[in-house]
């Protein structure tokens, strides 16, 4: 149903014209993806859209409800239909769900800013972000702590071309909310989905030092790529997690 999944409808296009509701749905989606309609904004009512596009209200409902299911819109009875922001609610943000056991509780994590600087592009970061290696990247380093003890150390890489003046913000700006939220609020780019690769590595050098563990001790290693509209990657992240008592939770 999402952009990355099926293109069943496109196959039909060869034989028969696309359904009215589907063309409308894609037209509305384009408004959002192109930034004409921004997150939080109220869109026109069913009747208005129906009038503008010369279709029935039922057809508008179908198009709009599909976009609600896809996470592009949300509706409130009596008020209207709004553009949705980052799909990833706190529930599905794996990074920040550290648990003691499968039936245990969630730990509150504190974010600590370590550093932010411009660096030259490198692989695999540049390749995974779809940029040539000569484009500058921002490198953001952060630490996540629970009860004062470091649990996760992560390095994020973001294209300077997209995130202009990223280094003009005070460090506190990176410590008060998740990076997802900060980017959505500041640049209007919501996070639509992530790709993640889980592995285990032995702690080494700077990482071991930041996390306060012995070199050689096992760490959970997560490589992540975040995507916004139109399947465009905008962040590459490497995380190292201490998982002695708490571990990273996921629900599928």
């Amino acid at each position: 149903m999402t952009a990355r999944s099926g293109n069943l409808k496109l196959i039909r296009a060869i034989e028969t014209p696309l359904p009215v509701y589907y063309r409308l749905q894609e037209a509305l989606k384009k408004k959002i993806e192109d930034g004409n309609w921004k997150p939080g904004q109220l869109i026109p009512s069913e009747r208005l859209i129906a009038g503008e596009h010369q279709v029935s209200v039922g057809t508008v409902r179908k198009a709009v409800l599909n976009l609600v299911y896809e996470g592009y819109l949300y509706r409130i009875q009596g008020k209207g239909t709004y553009v949705a922001g980052t799909k990833l609610r706190k529930d599905s943000l794996r990074y920040y769900r550290m648990m003691e056991a499968l039936d245990g509780g969630e730990a509150e994590l504190e974010i600590r800013f370590i550093g932010l600087k411009e660096i030259q592009g490198f692989d695999p970061a540049s390749a995974l972000l779809g940029h040539p290696r000569d484009r500058t990247l921002y490198e953001l380093r952060r630490l996540f702590l629970h009860d004062g003890a470091p649990l996760v150390y992560c390095e994020s890489y973001l294209p300077k071309g997209i995130f202009r003046d990223f280094d003009s913000f005070p460090p506190a700006r990176f410590e008060k909310s998740t990076l997802y939220e900060m980017i959505e609020q500041t640049y209007g780019l919501p996070c639509i989905y992530n790709h993640e690769l889980f592995g285990a590595v032995a702690a080494h050098g700077a990482v071991a030092k930041q996390l306060g563990v012995n070199a050689g001790s096992p760490l959970l290693f997560i490589e992540m790529r975040s995507f916004t509209y139109k399947d465009r990657p905008y962040e590459f992240r490497r995380s190292y997690c201490v998982t002695g008592t708490r571990r990273v939770f996921a629900e599928i």
Copy 2:
């Protein structure tokens, strides 16, 4: 939208009666959860259901489509509506998606049966399965290999009460398909969702030996609980993964 999420509709019940489509939806869901309609089975047509329940076809459509979105049913134009099986298509089965890199390809894994035996219940397995410790469990041990090299070793624990005669199957039965599929086909129990906990551990004893790695080398450790209808857990699994060249992929 799923059973484990919101109960918004229940709040309304205090003030106003539940919508017709919703009561029908829950009635159809109950048929599936109670096993009256089994995975793969064709359910009655829209018109038939509408006649039986004395509601309009549009109302049946809404109820049925909601259950499609929830993963309980799927529809084929011209054929009918069928009861869906395990939600987890191969795409979302993390365990069997071992990749070289975030933009790399997927590795085909071979399943090898190691052993199956009855054991006495123990915690955390019994607790996580919602059974007292004196109930017998099955312990299934398997190995997943790529190009002959072991990548994943896992131990599954299943209640003997649910999986009667689980040990009467030949080992090959566990090597030809995923455990999800085997259980769905044999016991009619589809997997609806999983909970997983990711961590890193140092290889030790039997696990290190099975995976052919040195003791102390880092392994990805995954604890998993699988749920079927009505949020009932039916499997507890511990997996140890060698993630030197290939790692476990997830999409959110």
